[in-house]
């Protein structure tokens, strides 16, 4: 018996039914991909709609120049500067810890650790990134601040430093993994050129490998900063809700006292009972828009750097 004879039709002509079926499947998948576009458009529209409404009642100038943020407590005032100050302070301190640590960890993993060590350390670092930020916030408030009190007796219950430490721990894996990928992509021949000239490993690493991987490293830094800016729960729980302008020249005041970041302010409004048409409710979206624009800009720059400068070094 010839296999399959009765199965097959020798008809080789196109069938309308099948063509339609294939097109339908392609269309279904296309719609799935469109959801992501719709999401972005949705975010932009939602933020803009309410923010525009907000700016009809509170002028943009007031928003960006007044120095008092008090949406719910009378007299209400909507100056976003303290929030931006809080966000930038927190981000700066976090970056101060996380960026060098992430880079050094990446160097270690890429250049010094052997395969077995790397196989253990990389997943271990991933665990750091997987702990929910609420938990980190709690750790900062309940375990780290008391510990820091031993070193800085003046530290307040809510302060920048504790929150920065835990968020730095959280984003070190991101920075380390992206930077490490960039460094491992640097061809061996470049390193060997350095070694061949009698240069030691330390110098080869910082003068040859790191510069060659710079675009990926910088991109990872920007990504880390963006995440710190958008970080919410850890800084809400441990950083406090005091909207103030930070004096950069007074590190004690900057690090050891509470602040309120943009994200923490949003949470505060979200948890209060403001009605949907109140100015306070709409101010939530104005701050949200500002936040979105900041992180969006950073992400675009990060992608741009990664794409544009990748060719130059490889």
């Amino acid at each position: 018996m010839k296999p399959g004879k009765e199965v097959l039709e020798k008809n080789l002509l196109k069938s309308v039914k099948r063509t339609m079926h294939e097109n339908v499947m392609g269309g279904v998948f296309f719609i799935c991909a469109l959801v992501s576009i719709v999401t972005t458009i949705g975010i932009v529209i939602v933020l803009l709609a309410e923010a525009v409404d907000f700016f009809r009642q509170v002028s943009i100038i007031e928003f960006f120049t007044r120095v008092r943020w008090s949406p719910t407590i009378k007299p209400s005032e909507f100056g976003v500067i303290p929030l931006i100050s809080g966000t930038l302070t927190f981000t700066f301190v976090t970056a101060l810890i996380a960026l060098p640590a992430g880079l050094l960890a990446a160097v270690y993993l890429s250049e010094y650790a052997n395969n077995r060590l790397r196989a253990i350390l990389k997943p271990a670092l991933e665990v750091l990134a997987g702990i929910p930020t609420v938990v980190y916030g709690y750790f900062a408030l309940v375990y780290i601040t008391p510990l820091l009190r031993n070193i800085f007796p003046a530290i307040r219950t809510f302060n920048v430093l504790s929150a920065s430490i835990v968020v730095a721990i959280m984003i070190i894996p991101t920075i380390a993994s992206i930077s490490e990928d960039s460094m491992r992509a640097v061809p061996r021949s470049l390193r060997e050129a350095g070694f061949g000239l009698g240069v030691g490993k330390f110098k080869v690493t910082i003068t040859i490998v790191v510069p060659a991987a710079l675009s990926g490293i910088v991109s990872s830094f920007i990504l880390g900063i963006s995440r710190a800016i958008g970080e919410t729960m850890a800084v809400t729980i441990a950083g406090g809700n005091l909207a103030r302008i930070v004096n950069p020249l007074n590190p004690a005041s900057a690090l050891l006292e509470p602040i309120q970041t943009m994200t923490a302010a949003m949470v505060e409004i979200g948890m209060s009972d403001v009605t949907g048409d109140s100015v306070a409710y709409k101010s939530l979206f104005a701050v949200g828009l500002t936040l979105f624009l900041m992180t969006f800009l950073l992400n675009v720059v990060s992608q741009f750097i990664k794409m544009r400068y990748r060719e130059k070094y490889q």
Binding site: L47, G130, V135, L141, G270, F296
Partner: protein, 311 residues
Amino acid sequence: MITRGSGARRKKHSEIIKNTVLAGIGDNIQSEKIKGRIFTGFCVIATFFGIVSLASLLVYVFYDAAGWLDLQFLTSAPSRFAEKAGVYPMLIGSIFVVSLVAVFSLPLGVGAAIYLEEYAKDNFVRRLIEMNISNLAGVPSIVYGLLGLGLFVALLDMSHGIIIVGAFTLTLRVLPIVIVSSQEAVRAVPVSHRYGSLGLGSTKWQMIRSVVLPEAVPGIMTGMILALSNAMGETAPLIMIGAATSIFTAPRGLFSSFSAMPLQIFAWSDFPQEGFRHGVTPAAIVVLLVVLLIMNGIAIYIRQRYSNKKR
């Protein structure tokens, strides 16, 4: 140019070279080595800083939770009194919402990945979509809460803080993760298998359904678990859409009010009493971490099992 007395001068010259250059190189190597050691030391500290810190914090929290984490804790509702407090409604809420997120994000995410890898030509539209997905991954999660608030609650007139709104919002939040990991999984399927299928006269969809997707399953599953772990720990978006930070009854259906584990932890972090601060709240944290551990354990198991099976 040969000069007078060059013999003696040349000898002296080479002595100088020998003494300065070689001596210089010798000194340099010593100090370089020391610098190298210090540098490596910093690298090691940096690498282990986070791991050691987290390990210590986990020890603290498990220690505090011991004694408070029992069956009563898992089956009671929250309370002002630490001894009576429990996480049951939040546990159910979390599991309910995250399960829905799985149901919504899997088809959407895998569908988008299939479109991008199998149907889209490598042109501007495809790059735009992929860039957009990258950007969405970087948007702070609280902004997704605003999206949920503005879209589902305000525009579509759904109630505050109900399960379905939470599920939709979190789905949008984790969708980029699912898409990117599914894309990688699909891309990893060898081209030769695709040609083998097409050469036999299968249609594109048949090839995807019976060759590409089965091979991509482990990668897709791992991505899903990663996404769901994220969803499990999300707090800010749920606050924005109006989920309660504390609730006394477990949600019954899609339109019930709900609360989730991270929200309860957030609420309890405000309670200064010892029973909470070093008892109930750590216990709740441990419950959340254990759930995440189980989820990730499943992911690792799936990955192991499938990579052994195939080769």
